[in-house]
Amino acid sequence: MMAHLRHRLVVVGHGMVGHRFVQAAIERGLTETHDIVVIGEENRAAYDRVALTSYFEVGADALSLLPLGAYDDPRVQLRLGAEVVAIDPTGSAAPDTAGAGSLTLADGEVLTYDQLVLATGAAPFVPPIEGRDLPGCFVYRTIEDLEAIREAASGARVGAVIGGGLLGLEAAKALSDLGLETHVVEMAPRLMAVQVDDAGGATLRRHIEELGLSVHTGAMTTSVLGDDRVTGLGLKDADAIDADVVVFSAGIRPRDGLARAAGLDLAERGGILVDEQGRSTSHPTVWAIGECAAPGGRMYGLVAPGYTMAEVAVDALLGGPGAFTGADMSTKLKLMGVDVASFGDAFATTPDALELVFSDAVAGIYKKLVVSEDGTRLLGGILVGDATSYGLLRPMVATDTNPGIPLPENPEELILPASRGGGSGGVVLPDEAQVCSCNDVTKGQITEAVADGGTCDSPSCVTACTAAGSTCGSCKPLVKSIVEDYFTAQGKTVDRSLCEHFALTRQELYDVVAVHEHTSFDQIVTRHGRGRGCDICKPVVASILATQLNGHVLEGATRTLQDTNDAYLANIQRNGTYSVVPRIPGGEITPEKLIVIGEVARDFGLYTKITGGQRIDLFGARMEELPAIWRRLVDAGFESGHAYGKSLRTVKSCVGSTWCRYGVQDSVQLAIDLELRYRGLRSPHKLKGGVSGCARECAEARGKDFGVIATEKGWNLYVGGNGGATPVHARLLAGDLDTETLVRYLDRFLMYYVRTADRLQRTAPWVDSLDGGLERVREVVVEDSLGLGAELEAAMARHVGGYFDEWKETLDDPEKLARFVSFVNAPDVPDPHISFREERGQSVPADSAGPVSLGTTIPVGPAGPVGSVGAS
């Protein structure tokens, strides 16, 4: 038999870390030499376990890390719903393949491998108490667990969670969201015992009790009560608790059973013992990554260290030098709306460490700093209720290998509220200080981005360009203050004025116009501005007036406010001609209409090209020809479209369930409906939408400002995407929506954007610029926390109700039409500056050689507005 040229690598476990491993293997070319087989026990491909609690809100599709269920590389084979029951690194179970190892699946199949990567994760620890197997008992680890909990909750009244750690509190939130009266039972004397101290735990407890949950600390569960199903929990030295649903969340244990049975080295407290590269210390062709691994004897229950291990293992398999040497276990999170952060030596285990504490029981704030004996170094800290200073404090922490940043003279200022002299305490971070730990961005890189040679002028631009703050977002306030401090030091104020005529931002101007019910630029500039405006503020005012009054953009005095394209309702091109793009909602068009477009293009000699937005662009129309072109289109049932202006462009769609064998919803119908609903909406920047009929995403909806992707149950709504120079994928706002709810959320989202974004700020940077980012958008749009929902919907309803065909109205109004002439005094003479040449059989602009004179011999037409006009 011929020797194998390709190697086989088997990954056991398709969770978050196993998936990251495969991704890295494909990206870095490991699949050039290795065939990869992934065996996953769960029935679905890897999903975002960190966001598991949002499952009830967004559904399974939205959590998926591999929505198509397969990798885009034929050398990777994914087998789901298959459990590995034994591994044999010496290959004795398959003697014919000497040298290679083998493994056995639950159905008895044996696979051989050259390299084995264990990524089996961890399992919830269920204490060995009586009754723990009764129906009504659950763990909290997989989507199936959550589905089972939801089903049980529907007939239940009271739920209890055993364990008051981070995961336990998440489970408790889920139970309480499901409408259960919820108890949290924690054996330790406080909540989140790993992250916070007694006082911090007490503060957290008050917050959680305020939300209506019952907290029992120092309470040991001795048994689960009930005969044929759960009825309650028995506690040691305390009254029993009634409960119909019980969730165990008492810690996790690495799933190291396969390795244990095969005799591989394990760490003292569990986990497969591996070296710095992730290789088993007892067998060189076995690797372990993620929560099942214990590099250097320690397991890590967070996803980021697991990702690093995955990258390092791929690197090592490619012969690289990468190493995993430990991870920063600092955490900052929002639990049921409460900020909790814990970093460095939070429990002051360093000898002689001192503690500085600020606490405000009324406001529910607890902050502690752990400092070195001489008071010069920060060692760690805990923040509960207000973690805004986390971004500043974390980079200051001193460790064995990093001196950190010296504490200011009065370190207490770092944790006091601003009203009591708090602040940054004059701490100036050095340039090397790491500000964003997710993406390893230093302060120096941030100031560089805004310095003279840099490209940024705002914190949100810095986030976009350097990635600082783009992952967990906890350093965003720090990024902002670094940028502002830098500008102040340079004597630059961060001037957010629109232009020299208005010392207001677009949002402020929007509000001013609304409050005063202004209807004209003159009123607005006289009352709130200076001078007579310019090409920046006039179009902004035009857009604001269009949104608030829903009038025609060419009506009366608003005409002269319009930007180039709005002023002529078409797209100006380099030679001063225009392009016309008939609206084709959703990209669906009848053959008859297609023929009309062809005829118009032919008759007017227009260069024709298909656009990226699923419509047809007709180029080279002279300004004076526009009305005649619109007339032809209007008569054929078209409207000319907004391929220009700061307004909705198109809603792109795939063909959807009507034709496509994969489609699960009618994406075309929805795209048409959305395009017709939002057409004509004037906004801070252009707006694009997309609708895909299934997770294959053929409409590229996530590259749009709003993207809708069909699921089995309805629609997932993504917001804040764009293509262009800085492509951004839209992010999930809400999942599994019915069409009505989807439209409601979109109405709110778009109006909120129209009202509050800066000029020329697309949705992606706008979302980023909001305090709280996408979470803030969700609060306003989905949870309606500001109570603005109805108002935003009503504003959109006014827009939809007031919509009319701008082009047709122009045709019907001689006054508006009067401007569409080549020369005011010679309307029949075409502008000689415009000339064409031919390229690939179509007309294109000829290069301009400079101003052209017709000479004085050409008679100037008689139709001029002045009686006797002639050539001079």
Partner: protein, 146 residues
């Protein structure tokens, strides 16, 4: 060609076409406030603008930076330069600002030599707008009385 006669006076008789005042192109009311029109004058495309205070200016319609005949379609406003509100038009192509009085490009970083030719322009008592000769570049800018 040059304009010698006081055009205001020349047009007081209403319907006349005094060669000295140039070409009557339209009525003031044909130009929107803070808007522009383009007229054919001596075979050349001339943009005629009207400001908020009803001053009228004429520039060649050809944008020397965008290299197209489009200036009359730009947004008209004011910009502060040396503490004075300068009337200007922003080219619809790339938004360069041109001083309506001189035709000079006001944008920083643009070659100071970039200048759009200006034309003498007057409004008669009957509100007819007259465009006269192109003004030589070296000449002091035409300052309308305001």
């Amino acid at each position: 060609m040059s304009v010698e006669t006081d055009p205001t006076q020349a047009s007081t008789d209403g319907a006349g076409t005094p060669a000295t005042a140039g070409t009557p192109v339209c009525r003031l009311d044909d130009i929107e406030v803070e808007g522009g029109v383009v007229a054919l004058v001596g075979g050349e495309a001339v943009a005629v603008f009207r400001t908020y205070t009803d001053e009228v200016y004429a520039l060649a319609n050809y944008d020397p930076i965008g290299r197209a005949s489009v200036l009359s379609r730009g947004i008209v406003g004011t910009r502060t330069a040396d503490d004075v509100d300068v009337p200007f038009v922003a080219s619809p192509l790339h938004k360069q600002a041109y001083d309506l009085r001189t035709g000079r490009c006001l944008d920083k970083g643009v070659d100071a030599a970039v200048q759009v030719p200006t034309y003498a322009v007057t409004v008669g008592a009957d509100r007819t707008v007259w465009v006269g000769a192109q003004q030589s570049r070296d000449e002091e800018p035409h300052e309308p009385d305001s």
